[in-house]
């Protein structure tokens, strides 16, 4: 059998914007606006460099709501480049592609095969001795187990199953085309190239059932290295798989503990250490970072009350480390140090009790809803209102409680 290498990628979400990064400098857009494209260019370069003969893409090449046709043209252009390098590409449409208006109307070069939406299809690549089986999503919400209908493996071939699925279900992802791991294991293919879940996962090794994760993290929910999986096939078996980071902006969430830190000034060196470590782990990539200041400290009240200035100081510090570091958010998650269990008979103590009591009362939720109503009429429809309101409903009361208590502590002087 022919020995060869192929790349398994999924969830490219080309031209999907990076979410949550406020503009900090003029070259912001130049650095971040085409992150997904540059990540895909990295994939193309990797395929050529590694002398790959095949790329399989397990869906969600495009964003569902994304309407700019240039994105499609960009993808088609890169497919032509791969053709020039003699690389075959097999793709299936994912739920986002099915939703997309142009995804299935692109004119691909002859090295590209888009699998059928109607039924599972098999593509035999004679020169590699490979059979790729897959089916595109005809519409966004496929709730049936489509893997059942996938063809039986072709004997004497290296069989790759290309499937966009929430295998076994996954938090944060819609349960489209669900299937069970055991089902895939028993199907007889040598490799299952899955897509849909943005976190890289190796569900099984015999055979290999792999989610490569998405190509470029798009928000703080998609942290860590992102890229594609390089698979080497020798004598009809998977000899090795390597996850290759291809992202150009790395999302990282780091905790900075304030335990043992006496002064506000001493906080910054601790932050610097975390940021520098995180940046060093990015291998020169741009870093989008969320910092969570945690631990109990007597600085709690001060930090909670002056959170914006803490953020500004940290942002200034980050700029001093490297110009391509973005602080997405600084969360003050500290707690007061060693709160006394004694009853506090002072007015401040009574005030604190009252705040605690009110914060636990539905009254505060009503106040929150009133504030949200104020905001609702001002916030544009496309500004991810639901997402914001969800965050505010979950975190708002607690943050307000913390801030109110901090204000009481600050008020003593």
């Amino acid at each position: 059998m022919v020995n060869f290498r192929f790349i398994h990628a999924a969830d490219l979400h080309l031209d999907s914007p990076l979410i949550g990064l406020a503009k900090k400098s003029e070259d912001y857009a130049a650095r971040l606006d085409d992150a997904s494209r540059r990540a895909f260019d990295n994939l193309v370069a990797l395929a050529i460099e590694e002398d790959c003969r095949l790329i399989v893409i397990a869906g969600d090449i495009f964003d569902g709501q994304w309407r700019d046709y240039r994105t499609g043209l960009f993808f088609v252009d890169r497919m032509r480049r791969l053709r020039q390098a003699g690389i075959r590409v097999v793709i299936i449409a994912g739920n986002h592609d099915a939703e997309n208006r142009f995804a299935n109307r692109l004119e691909y070069s002859d090295n590209v095969k888009l699998m059928s939406q109607r039924h599972p299809e098999s593509l035999l690549i004679e020169e590699l001795g490979v059979a790729v089986h897959g089916r595109s999503f005809p519409q966004r919400d496929i709730v049936d187990n489509i893997a059942i209908e996938y063809p039986s493996p072709v004997p004497g071939r290296f069989n790759i199953g290309l499937l966009h699925t929430a295998c076994g279900g996954s938090e944060g992802h819609a349960s489209y085309a669900p299937c069970a791991l055991a089902q895939l294991v028993n199907h007889g293919y040598q490799y299952w190239a899955l897509g849909h879940i943005h976190k890289r996962q190796e569900l099984a090794k015999a055979p290999y059932i792999v989610y490569p994760g998405n190509l470029q993290g798009r928000s703080v929910r998609e942290t860590g290295p992102k890229g594609a999986t390089l698979v080497e096939v020798i004598d009809g078996d998977v000899a090795r798989i390597v996850h290759c980071p291809l992202d150009v902006v790395r999302w990282i969430v780091e905790d900075v503990t304030v335990a043992g830190i006496e002064t506000r000034e001493a906080l910054l060196p601790a932050v610097r250490e975390r940021v520098e470590l995180a940046y060093a782990s990015c291998d020169g990539r741009a870093l989008a970072m969320r910092l969570r200041v945690v631990g109990s400290t007597h600085l709690h009240a001060e930090l909670a009350a002056t959170a914006p200035s803490v953020r500004e100081e940290i942002e200034t510090l980050a700029v001093g480390i490297a110009s391509n570091i973005w602080i997405e958010k600084v969360e003050i998650c500290t707690s007061p140090s060693a709160a006394s269990a004694d009853i506090d008979p002072t007015v401040a103590g009574t005030l604190r009790q009252a705040v605690q009591s009110l914060a636990a009362d539905p009254w505060l939720t009503l106040r929150l809803e009133a504030r949200l109503k104020e905001i609702n009429i001002k916030l544009p429809a496309g500004a991810r209102r639901d997402e914001l309101f969800q965050v505010l409903r979950i975190e708002g009361p607690e943050k307000a409680r913390t801030l109110a208590l901090a204000m009481i502590d600050q008020g003593q002087g």
Binding site: D15, P17, L18, I19, L21, A22, K23, Y28, A29, A30, L32, D33, D34, R37, R67, D68, R70, F74, D77, R101, F102, A305, A307, P308, E328, A339, S340, D342, I343, D344, P345, T346, V347, A348, T350, L351, S357, L358, R367, R371, E374, I375, K378, L379, G382, A383, L388, V391, L392, G396, K399, A400, R401, A404, M407, I408, Q410, G411, Q412, G413
Partner: protein
Amino acid sequence: MRFESFTFEKYGRVDSCTLSFPPGPGLAVIYGPNEAGKSTSLAAIADFLFGIPHNSPRGQVFGYDQMRLTAVVALADGTRLSLRRRKGRAGRTLTNESGQGVDEGLLARHLGSTGRERFCSLFGLDHNSLRTGGERLMAADGDIGRLIVEAGGGLRALVDVQEKMAQDADALFATTRAGHRRFYRALDAYQVADHAATEGLLTLDAYEETKRRCDEAQGMVDEIRSKQKEIAEWILRLQRLVRVIPTIRELDGVDKELAAFLDLPPLRDGFADAAKEALQALKLAEAALSEAKERHAALSAKIDALMQSEAILAAEASIRDIEEKAVHVRKARGDRANRQIELAEINAKLDVVRGALGLPPDADLEAMFPPPDTIARVQKLAAQGIERRAKMIADEKQLAKEDGTLAGLAERQSERRRAGTSEPLGATIAEFANLAELSRTIAGSERRAERIGQEIAKRVCQLGFENSDCFAAWSCPNGATIQSELDRRTRLDDEIAKIAERSAAESAKRDMAAGAIEHLLQAREIPTDASIARARGDREETWRAIRDRYLSERGEDVARRPIGDRKADVDRHRQQTEAADSLADRKSLDAKRVAALDLAHRQKAEALIAIESLEKQRKALDERRRKDVRAWEEAWPEAANRQSDLRRLKGLVEERGTILERFAALRALGEEVDQLHAEMAPRRWALEQAEAQLAVEIGGAASISERVSAASKAIKIHDDAYADFRHDEKAIRDVTLQRQSTKASLDALQSAGADWRTEWAPAVSALGLAESIEPERANEIATQWATAGGLLHGLKLTRERLRRMDDDEKELHEKIETVACALDFVLPEDGVAAGGMLAERLDGELKIASERQVLAVQLKEAMAEQDRKQQSREAALAKTAGLCGEARCEPADLEALALRCRQCSAAKVRRLALADTVRRSGDSLPVGILREQSAGRDLDNIKADLFQAEQDATRLISEMETALSEVQDRTRAMEKFSATGGINEAVAARESATAEMHDALERYVEISLAKDLLLAAMDKIRAEQQDPLILRASALFSASTKAAFGGIETDIDDHGNPVVVGRRASGERVSVARMSDGARDQLFLAFRIASIEQYCAAAEPLPFIADDLLVHFDDDRGAAALGLLAELGKTTQVMLFTHHRHVRKDTEAFVARNAANVIDLASA
């Protein structure tokens, strides 16, 4: 928690201090003047309770190691703790008395949730905090919530924090749009970016539309291109026809010509040429044959005309020998005369030699000729003798010359030795070169030193010093020290002056207040509280007397009272009652005057206090200044004695510095002069030595420069003479050496002469000469013999040549005779002429023979040529006959037939060429097709069609350009789709703006809800605590105002907010804003005390520490406030720190009532 004792060691500036709080009442008034450690005590108590901060400034004097805070405290449950605090890591700084570590919790659990900040804000109060608190109450206008929070809770910064947060929230978001709000800035950015994203969007429909238009444009291009192709082909066809039609016409003409040769027999190709060639060859062959015959005849005649002599040709070898010999003889005949002259010349020379040798003219020199080596030897020796003799003469002359030179030199050296110039002087002019200048420099420096010394001595005397040494030894501070002291005193003076100014201002205030009081009191009595009280007191006293009498059990007392007195009592009582009532009634009417009087009293009191304070400060400063002066005088007694005025002293010290610098310069100048003297001494000695040696005498009054000049001249003369002496010494050595060389050469020549003579005698005798002959003569004779040898040899050779000439003449003659006998003609007698004739005749015969040979060859060739021509003619005839047979014609007709054949062939060739031209011009199309295409077409019509087609082609080019431009534009529009088109930037900017909005709104909601929570919490507290707190504060307030206020009540302000108001004794309600400063301070204090009492009721009581609280209170209210503190002392320990004596004095009354203690900090 009550402190029984508190000791702080090595803390701040205090080495050690112990405060002992006597058992008993809780109020301890701790009295201590300024600098007594009052503030230090306050900080120390907080540090004891909560630990010494990491960066505490209290260790600057003693450091931290020995810092200790020790306290004995009694807790509410009766427990006593004796603890010590040191500085160190948090949690490990508390020990017991013996130094063993104690758990921090031991103290912390009694402090409860109270930290340092809360303790300081709630349990600590100073006059500034009190005044600020009062002012904030005014600003809040009695807001109960704020009263509770700020006054009662010590949360004086909470409202500020709240307001700051509210401002922050407002800067983030509000429902009203405003440019400064972060949300709306981000919203603007969002909308701009969203618009850009929408505008820049490329939809599939738009793309397909653009692509369709692009394809359309491309289709148009293809269509035009097709038309262009068609028209291009049409143009090509027309152009082809235009090109080929004339040729086709010509081709038709040729075809007609060919029709005229149809009668010709079918002959092979090239027949005409073959016939023509054959006829031509026949003609040529006949002409060539005729020519060959004529040539053969001419050659035969020419050979026959040439005749030959066989005899001469037979004697050719002899004739060539005779010719050669005749040439030789002719040449010898020309040379014979020269040889004869040569013989005569040699004989003449030999005659000369004979004469030179002294031989007779006929002497046979050849027989007498000596051997050649003898002649050479004599010549060699003669040359040696002549040369040696010349050299000897030259050497002898040189020897004599050198002897003379040596004698002259010896005489001059003897004279120099006598003059003493044969030795060096030992001194040079350079040694004295700058002696005169040095001498002048020394003199100048000495004069300058003298002048400076005199000036210094004079100034030192003027400054009151005995001499320079005393001046230099004077002990005084430097300028900086004096300036520092001066600055310090100036600052003190400035402070004193400022105090004087402030004192004057306060005096003016006091006087103004006194004037106002006097003015107010001049009118009717003012119904002040005091005057009303006084009037009521008087009334009560009168009434008490009346009542006592009236109620006396002894009725006679009343009866004994005269009715007039009783009436008077009644009248007085009525008057007093009326006066008191009037005063009381007028109190409200004269409130303004009362307030003015109060204000004036307060101002006067404040002014008096200030004046007293300023006077104390002035005295303290005066004392400090005196101490400074004394310290200065003790430190610098000499300086102070000489000049007490510091400015003058500074001037004196500065001038002293200048003088001492000049003095130092003077000493340096003296040292310099001494050094110059030392430098000059050896040079002067050298000058004197030179003068003595050279015997220079220019008189005793001569200056140094004159002496140096004279000595220099003498030295130069001596040096020149000495240089001559040395030069001649060298010359003597050189000449002596030269003479020795000359003498040696002469001796060698003489020795060589002896040897020469030994050889000379035999050599000359071999030539027959005497030994005594001079070499020159001997050489001359030898030379003559050598010449004679050469002449004799030449004579012999010349004679031999003449003999050989005679032999040649004879041999020539004999050879000619031998040949002549066979000839048929006569030869001349002279052999040379005969030889010439024979040679000439031989040459003629040989030439004829040669010509005949050539002609014979030519004749043979001509015969052969004639045969070949004959054969050629026969062949041509045969070929012609063959062609005639082929054409079946007669030979005579062959030429005409060949001509027609050739014409026919030419027409065919032309036709082929035309057909080829048609084909080439017709783009290789067959002629038939072209002829068909052109059939019936008129050339002009075709050209017209061509013109029209070219016009159409031009039009299509223009259309094509337009279409291509359209394609280019639309392709460019398509290519733009390959870039992101800015939409990604816009989307990124939109996401950025969204993030900004989210961030702003998250913070806004956080702050807004926190504010809501706080306000709600404050409302809740107010609802829960308002009544008991206000009730207790009301009682305290009434007590502290000596019942001027009956208490405080709650009310609702214009905005519907609950507020507190003061209720005067008269029942009048006074808002907080309308209260006096003092009243507000007391209100604040009342709330604070009420709140602390509430705390102490619920938790371990903590000491209340007040720092000079009563500064703003007048005596009565101060006393009242003390009463409040004493009241609080019943609940918890109260420490009142003060440096005011009147407070201490006021406390005495409480001490007397066992309600307070006084601790003197100075004695602690």
